[in-house]
């Protein structure tokens, strides 16, 4: 059904992603698919990492931890730089999905509120505009 699953990860709020991570791991095992964890960072220092290179290493470590935790065999990680992540996040993830040959995206999202009528939520925007299947986990 699916062979490459992509999971966008916000390392600053990794604790809120538990359901999505579990869901992606279960689907990967069901379809013998690979998982790619994708992180997006700015080039300026953040709470997660001081440099993009450090960010990249943390993403790789995160991927390995997930592989052990969920007993997954084919796990990868990818990091992307965005000049303005508050705005460009969706486009950067879209680019990552294409680069990694993804056919299913599993992503966490918060429950939509009033503001989503003005500023689309990342997951909502992604589901509307990406070509691949998207599973939004709430």
């Amino acid at each position: 059904m699916y062979s490459h699953i992509m999971v966008p990860v916000d390392l600053a709020h990794a604790d809120k992603l538990e359901k999505a991570l579990q869901c992606a791991a279960d689907l990967a095992k069901l379809y013998q698919a690979s998982i790619c964890y994708v992180g997006v960072t700015a080039s300026t220092p953040s709470s997660v990492a001081h440099t993009p290179e450090e960010f990249s290493k943390k993403m790789e470590q995160f991927g390995q931890e997930q592989a052990i935790k969920h007993d997954l065999s084919d796990v990868r990680s990818a990091s992307y730089i965005s000049h303005d992540p508050a705005v460009d996040l969706d486009d950067t993830l879209m680019r990552a999905a294409t680069d990694t040959g993804t056919d299913l995206v599993v992503m966490a999202s918060h429950v939509p509120g009033l503001l989503e009528h003005v500023f689309a939520s990342n997951a909502g925007y992604f589901a509307s505009f990406s070509k691949m299947s998207v599973l939004v986990v709430r």
Binding site: A12, C36, T41, A42, S43, T44, P45, S46, S47, H50, T51, P52, E53, F55, S56, E60, G63, Q64, V75, R76, S77, A78, S79, Y80, I81, H83, D84, P85, A86, V87, D88, D99, T100, G113, L114, L115, F119
Partner: protein, 537 residues
């Protein structure tokens, strides 16, 4: 295990070891439908201070205006030597860095790659740096110095002429006028921006500290920058940026309205001005919501193309040969007069050195937290040498050319053709009066107004991004509604001051912040040298 990504190895840099985690003092909360992620207490205190100052100025107009103005005049007349000497230090440090081995240090690590191409980078730093000023002073300032130098009273204590002027000698007065203008728009202002930007970029990209003003002070204050000392620096930066932008926006609206009246007969009423501010803020809003690449960068590039078109038009249609030879003559005049113009002590032209030079330096310095932060944000991956060449040397040369084309044409209209229109036009209309003497006035003047407005938009949107970053403790991925808030807030402050009559007073207040920031910049010089020495090159 790792997929292809767009993060390449950055090589070596020397990160500063600190336990401070970016965003640890932030408050993440939800107010109504809006998510917030703001620094405590910088966001709240700077916001409240700004509101308090606006109320104070509007409520006590009779005392607030004279008080702020007196403070500004006192600073620029008593401490003129301090401003002038400090600005010289900034220029000298920049020039030394270009030729020293420290120039090889790369911002972001030895193997870092630039975030932006040369054209996009240059367009953004120029639009944020001085675009709007070039539109207004390109014609008026050379004329002003020329007139005061040419006048019979040049050299007397009443005269505003630079260096004693050249009474009765039109050619020498024109040379001096151009040299003095270029002095105010050339190396010195760009060195001021370059110092702030370089310090921020170095401590952020190479040392791993948050992109906010306080980080510059790490080599001096150490871990204390995360406390009260740092809060004060950041709040002052927000304060200077917001009032600098809001008062410029207010005055800009007055000037753009005067231009529209001159061109299309649209009455320059308060309503017109308020609509202009709303319009400019509205476009700036769209731009900040679209983000750095799709908004600010694109607008800056459009602006760059329009400005080049206008410049080429003036060069080709105006006195072409005079402008081209004038470029070299003015460059020589600038270099020849530079030692005397930048001399901080024993000046006999106090009106000029205090009223023009010290005022300008305080003004540029009060803008430097904003422009410096913005330049830093887009300069990762450049070497220090490349950085100073593109932030100091090239913009200075461009300014020489711009001033020669606009000011030179205006002076030649007055001296060679004997046309009085430009000289007698009010300040905000001088550009349009000069263009009126050239063909295709309707088109070029319209282009002029569009440029003025778009330059305001690019200042307003980049300013909102900068204020948002500082008030979010150096986070650049804070929720978008926050930058919308700052952009709207700036427009509202401008409208309140325009209608209530406090623009001049608060502009004087904003310029006065140039004094504390001069000290900040001098410390930044020490921090830059210390920081660069510990970097691999």
């Amino acid at each position: 295990m790792t997929e292809p990504t767009d993060i390449s190895p950055e090589g070596d840099s020397t990160l500063i070891e600190t336990d401070y985690e970016i965003g640890q003092d932030n408050i993440s909360t939800q107010i109504g439908p809006f998510n917030l992620d703001v620094h405590n207490p910088v966001f709240l205190i700077s916001g409240l201070c700004i509101v308090a100052f606006v109320f104070f100025t509007l409520a006590f107009q009779d005392s607030a205006g004279p008080m702020f103005n007196a403070m500004r005049v006192w600073l620029t007349s008593t401490l003129d030597w301090f401003f002038i000497a400090s600005a010289n230090v900034f220029v000298i440090l920049c020039l030394v860095l270009v030729v020293s081995p420290l120039g090889r240090v790369r911002l972001g690590g030895t193997d870092a790659t630039p975030d932006y191409s040369y054209s996009g980078w240059f367009a953004m730093l120029f639009a944020a740096g001085m675009g709007i000023g070039l539109m207004f002073y390109g014609v008026s300032e050379p004329l002003s110095h020329f007139s005061s130098s040419f006048a019979d009273n040049a050299g007397t204590p009443d005269s505003w002429a630079p260096l004693g002027g050249a009474p009765g000698d039109a050619e020498a007065a024109a040379r001096l006028g151009m040299a003095a203008t270029i002095f105010h728009w050339g190396l010195h202002p760009w060195a001021i921006y370059a110092i702030v930007a370089l310090a921020l970029a170095l401590f952020s990209y190479n040392k791993g500290l948050p992109l906010t003003m306080r980080s510059i002070f790490y080599p001096i204050f150490g871990e204390r920058i995360w406390g009260l000392t740092g809060h004060i620096i950041d709040i002052l930066a927000v304060f200077a940026t917001l009032f600098g932008l809001a008062t410029s926006l207010g005055f800009g609206a007055e000037q753009a309205a005067a231009g529209l009246e001159f061109l299309f007969g649209l009455p320059a009423t308060e309503t017109t001005k308020v609509f202009l501010i709303i319009g400019i803020t509205g476009i700036a809003l769209l731009s900040v919501v679209a983000g750095l690449d799709a908004g600010v960068k694109r607008l800056s590039e459009i602006n760059m193309v329009l400005a080049v078109l206008l410049l080429l038009f003036v060069v080709i249609v105006g006195p072409t040969i005079a402008i081209l030879s004038g470029f070299f003559n003015n460059l020589v005049a600038y270099v020849q007069n530079l030692p005397a113009l930048s001399n901080p002590v024993g000046r006999s032209d106090a009106n000029f050195s205090q009223g023009w030079t010290a005022f300008y330096w305080a003004w540029w310095i009060s803008w430097s937290p904003f422009v410096g932060m913005f330049i830093a944000r887009v300069s990762r991956g450049r070497t220090v040498r490349e950085f100073i060449t593109c932030v100091l040397l090239i913009p200075s040369v461009v300014c020489v050319f711009w001033m020669t084309a606009f000011g030179g044409t205006a002076i030649s209209q007055l001296v060679t053709d004997g046309v009085q229109t430009v000289a007698s036009a009010p300040l905000e209309l001088k550009l349009f009066a000069m263009l009126q003497e050239l063909p295709l006035t309707q088109i070029t003047s319209f282009l002029g107004i569009v440029l003025v407005i778009v330059f305001f938009v690019t200042s307003s949107d980049s300013g909102s991004l900068v204020i948002d970053t500082i008030t979010a403790g150096g986070k650049i991925d804070a929720p978008t509604p926050q930058r919308v808030f700052w952009c709207v807030f700036e427009g509202l402050v401008a409208i309140a001051l325009l209608l209530g009559g406090g623009l001049g007073a608060l502009q004087a207040m904003a310029v006065s912040t140039g004094f504390p920031f001069t000290i900040v910049l001098l410390i930044a010089c020490v921090a830059i040298v210390k920081g660069l020495m510990s970097e691999p090159r």
